[in-house]
């Protein structure tokens, strides 16, 4: 039982690190995309560069892509469950 708790603890820790790294990476690419979009030619009606980027980032934080990073937790647990099933059930 202690072993199981330890496994969950370490898995949670490791996956959290992966989650943060992916979240930072994804945010960084999104910001870069917005900057390049502005630099290529500001869209009409947009006030200034910073406001444009901040608005884009706020939209990103609510986007599906941002939420898909939660798969970092879901996929490994699912895979482990599938492996346990197929290895142990005849």
């Amino acid at each position: 039982m202690m072993g199981l708790i330890r496994v969950f603890l370490f898995a949670a820790l490791g996956l959290t690190v992966v989650y943060w790294l992916l979240a930072i990476y994804s945010r960084s690419t999104e910001r870069e995309r917005l900057e390049k979009k502005w630099d290529a030619g500001p869209p009409e009606g947009a006030p200034d560069r910073d406001a444009f980027i901040e608005a884009g980032m706020a939209k990103y934080e609510r986007s599906l892509r941002r939420k898909l990073i939660w798969l970092v937790y879901i996929v490994p647990l699912t895979v482990v469950a599938i492996i346990i099933y197929f290895v142990n059930v005849q």
Binding site: E32, V87, N88
Partner: protein
């Protein structure tokens, strides 16, 4: 010299990764099961290649009953597998059904006259010198000794690892481009500034010092500049 060290290091890393994957990833052997038995085994210095003590079949002792499966390949060479639970983390086979596997293997036993070919999925190595055995994970009856088995698990795992490695590389490059390079640029600019200021100070110092030297020079009759 340095080049040899660098290449030696690279080759060692690649070799270690290869050996690690070769040990851990599943392989299939087409064999005939000739015997299944338990043997009291003392696990010592080679315990790294046996089930960890928290696994169901190990239970924390160095001397334990380990299940073995004796098999013969089509070329009459033998392979002996051990059959142990894998424990909680590594290797991640999550195998808890060693007893069932032993029963299945016993059920598939056959002799040379009436062969029943079996595909044994296993990981690990047989090294007689170290007394280590590959761990059987699953057995499945197959039609003959020549059936082709597509290693789907290996394909999926290696593809995933390759994608993960590329992803790590991309993340590092992104981090360098967005975080390190701007800082390095700032540092370079700051350094230029420091150098400029340093030169200015040096120039001023040269002024005071130079005037002092000139003044000293006047004692020896040199004219002031």
């Amino acid at each position: 010299m340095w080049r040899y060290i660098k290449w030696g290091f690279r080759i060692t890393v690649v070799l270690a990764v290869f050996l690690f994957l070769h040990y851990t990833l599943p392989q299939h052997s087409i064999v005939r099961v000739t015997g299944t038995f338990n043997r009291l085994t003392t696990v010592g210095a080679n315990s790294m290649f046996y089930a960890s003590p928290d696994a169901g079949t190990a239970e924390g002792t160095l001397t334990r009953d380990i299940r073995f499966i004796e098999t013969v390949r089509a070329n009459d060479k033998v392979i002996v597998f051990r059959n142990e639970d894998t424990g909680l983390i590594w290797p991640p086979y999550f195998k808890y059904d060693s007893s069932n596997l032993q029963a299945e293997a016993g059920n598939l036993r056959s002799d040379k006259a009436n062969p029943q070919w079996v595909s044994v999925t296993h990981y690990g190595w047989r090294v007689p010198f170290l007394s280590i055995y590959p761990n059987a994970v699953a057995v499945k009856a197959v039609a003959g000794p020549d059936v082709r088995i597509i290693p789907w698990v290996n394909i999926v795992v290696l593809t995933f690892l390759a994608i993960a490695a590329l992803m790590v590389r991309r993340m590092w490059l992104q981090f360098r481009e967005r975080m390190l390079d701007p800082v390095a640029q700032d540092v370079a600019e700051a350094w230029d500034e420091v150098e400029d200021r340093g030169e200015a100070v040096a120039g001023r110092a040269r002024g005071i010092w130079g005037r002092f030297i000139d003044w000293l020079g006047t004692f020896r009759g040199k004219p002031r500049r």
